[in-house]
Symmetry: C2
Subunit: 138 residues, 2 copies
Amino acid sequence: MNTGAKYKTKQRDVLVEYFKKYPGKHITAGEVCEHCKKQGEHIGQSTIYRQLESLVDEGIINKYIIDGKTSACFEYAGEHDENSSEVCFHCKCEKCGKLIHMHCDELSAIGRHLYQKHGFELNPMRTVFYGVCEDCQK
Amino acid sequence: MNTGAKYKTKQRDVLVEYFKKYPGKHITAGEVCEHCKKQGEHIGQSTIYRQLESLVDEGIINKYIIDGKTSACFEYAGEHDENSSEVCFHCKCEKCGKLIHMHCDELSAIGRHLYQKHGFELNPMRTVFYGVCEDCQK
DNA sequence: CTAAGTGCAAAATGTTTGCATACTT
DNA sequence: AAGTATGCAAACATTTTGCACTTAG
């Protein structure tokens, strides 16, 4: 946790724009660094890590830690569309490493179940289902 | 992935016994190291990491990567009781960090749903639900 | 005897921190 | 001016690797 970014800086904008440009894509801190270098925007890695932390705190991006990857991933959280109950779930294949984005009402239902029966308020943005994908089951 | 342990060694036994002794407990590689030192059983850390990998491959222990912790956790997989449909799910509180073990048929049902409707074969042993626990919702 | 496992130390990652400087407001 | 952010390099923590040596089968 930190105090939260308060100043609008060039570095922060670059990061936010990058995430906005690829909604649904999982991006590591290292990939952010590379992206910046390619853009000719040299941003120190400590700045990147600190900004990522801030952006997570502010709910602008989400952080995922996925087995098989050695580093954490971040993803644009999208516009907070409160009307839509469309929640996106993530399934990660343990064999090929593929990450599947899934929209499913039945899955949304488990969030309600967990809350009503177990008092646990699920955060679907952060939860990753592990298993084996269709292609790898052959 | 590795070729799988084939030899029965003292080091391997020590690790397996340790995990068996604490079913349901999440143990990091570092904790395994410490445990061995306390026992007077000096086991090199590379051996520990390599054995942990083997044990995961063999399904004797499961590996979890949980946000907030900097290192991976391992847990005894338990006897493979095929008769029982009792599967254990993990819920991790994002606020207090508590890890809740949950047995629930409804949750087991989502495994079937994912398989039938989405062709995804869920591995519940590896999946962690993130959210906020009852205590932290006050 | 051979394949597999071990242990050490070194290297490779990924992430965090201290501190002087620069930028926002 | 005051508070915050940046960037560098160094520090850290965890995990992996190379290699000579030991052990199980």
